[in-house]
Symmetry: C2
Subunit: 145 residues, 2 copies
DNA sequence: ATAATAAAAGATATTTTTGTCTTTTATTAT
DNA sequence: ATAATAAAAGACAAAAATATCTTTTATTAT
C-alpha cells in the first residue's frame, strides 16, 4: 500500500509541475503536464477538472488556454490537494479500519496512529504547493519516472 | 486512503484476536475470529490461509481444530504481518509513486517521506503480535466495529 | 463569421481489490 | 470404518479504482 491513492499521487505531481510553470507566468495544457509528470493524459484531465471545480487550480479554454496556479494557490499547503482528492480519512480514520475507534473505544494501535497521522498532517501543512519551485526549475528534483 | 489495505487491516485484527486466545491455549475457528473482529468470514479464511502458508499463524484441521499462534509467533513484530500482506511498498516506495525515486534522483517529498516511513516501520517493529493481550482480555481495547 | 485550440463533460472499458460459493482434504470422536 | 468438523483450495462475483473514448462548450486568432 501507498500512503496516497494513485489519483492523489498524480494530483500532487501535477500541481508541483504547474507551480513551477506558473511561477514564470506560463500556462500548461494537459498534454504538457502529462508528459512532464509521466501520467495518463486523459485520466490526468479528469483529476485537474476536479481540482479546478474545487478552486485549487485555475484553467482557461481555447487557444493559449491551459491550467495554471494563481499566487494564492501557490501558497496553499499541500494538504489541501490531498484532502480534495483522497478525503481526510488519512488524517482521521482508524489505522485498523474500525468505524467507532476513538479515545474512549480505542483499537490497539490508536495512540501509535494518532502520532503518525499527526506527523503526516504536519508535513503536508507546512509544505506549500510552491515550496519546491526553485529546485524543480534547477532540475534537482524529479516529478517523473 | 488508509495506511493499510483492507486485507491487511483484517489480518492485523485477526492476529491480535488470535494472540489473546492463544495466550490461554485456545484455538479459534474462522467463524469465531470473523465474529470477533467483524469481518467477512470467507474472505478472512483466505487471508488466514495465506498467513498460514507463510508460517505466521498455525492451524489444524478437523474437530477441535482452528487457528492459533505459537509462542514464537506471539512475539513476532507486527511488521511481519504487514510485510506478508501488503508487501514492503509502504516502507520502501516513493510517496509520489515514482519508480526511480532515490537519494540521487529524489521526488520533492523524498526526505519528508523517508522520515514518516521510518516512524511507521519503527512502530511496527517494536509492537509484537502479543503486545496487547492484557488490554484485550480486560476489554480495554476494541477489535470490532 | 470561421476555423483552430483546449478544457469540460459524459459514457465506457479495464484492472485491482474485496468478497462469496463450492468442492476437497485432513483430523477427530464415535 | 463412519460421520462430523474445520481448514484448504479453486472458481466465481461484485465493487472500487484506474484509464480511455467521444462529444460538447468556451475562447482565441484569422
Amino acid at each position: 500500500m501507498a500512503i496516497f491513492s494513485k489519483t492523489c499521487e498524480y494530483a500532487i505531481r501535477a500541481v508541483f509541475y504547474l507551480a513551477q510553470k506558473s511561477a514564470s507566468g506560463v500556462k500548461s495544457g494537459i498534454k504538457d503536464i502529462a508528459a512532464g509528470i509521466d501520467s495518463p493524459e486523459l485520466y490526468l484531465g479528469k483529476i485537474l477538472q476536479d481540482l479546478s471545480r474545487k478552486g485549487l487550480v485555475a484553467s482557461s479554454k481555447g487557444p493559449n488556454g491551459g491550467f495554471f496556479l494563481s499566487s494564492e494557490m501557490l501558497s496553499l499547503p499541500l494538504i489541501e490537494i490531498v484532502r480534495a482528492v483522497d478525503g481526510d480519512s488519512l488524517f482521521t480514520g482508524c489505522g485498523l479500519g474500525l468505524k467507532q475507534c476513538s479515545e474512549i473505544n480505542p483499537c490497539p494501535l490508536h495512540n501509535e496512529f494518532k502520532d503518525i497521522r499527526q506527523k503526516i498532517a504536519l508535513m503536508l501543512n507546512r509544505t506549500t504547493i510552491g515550496s519546491f519551485n526553485r529546485e524543480l526549475i534547477e532540475g534537482l528534483l524529479s516529478l517523473k519516472k
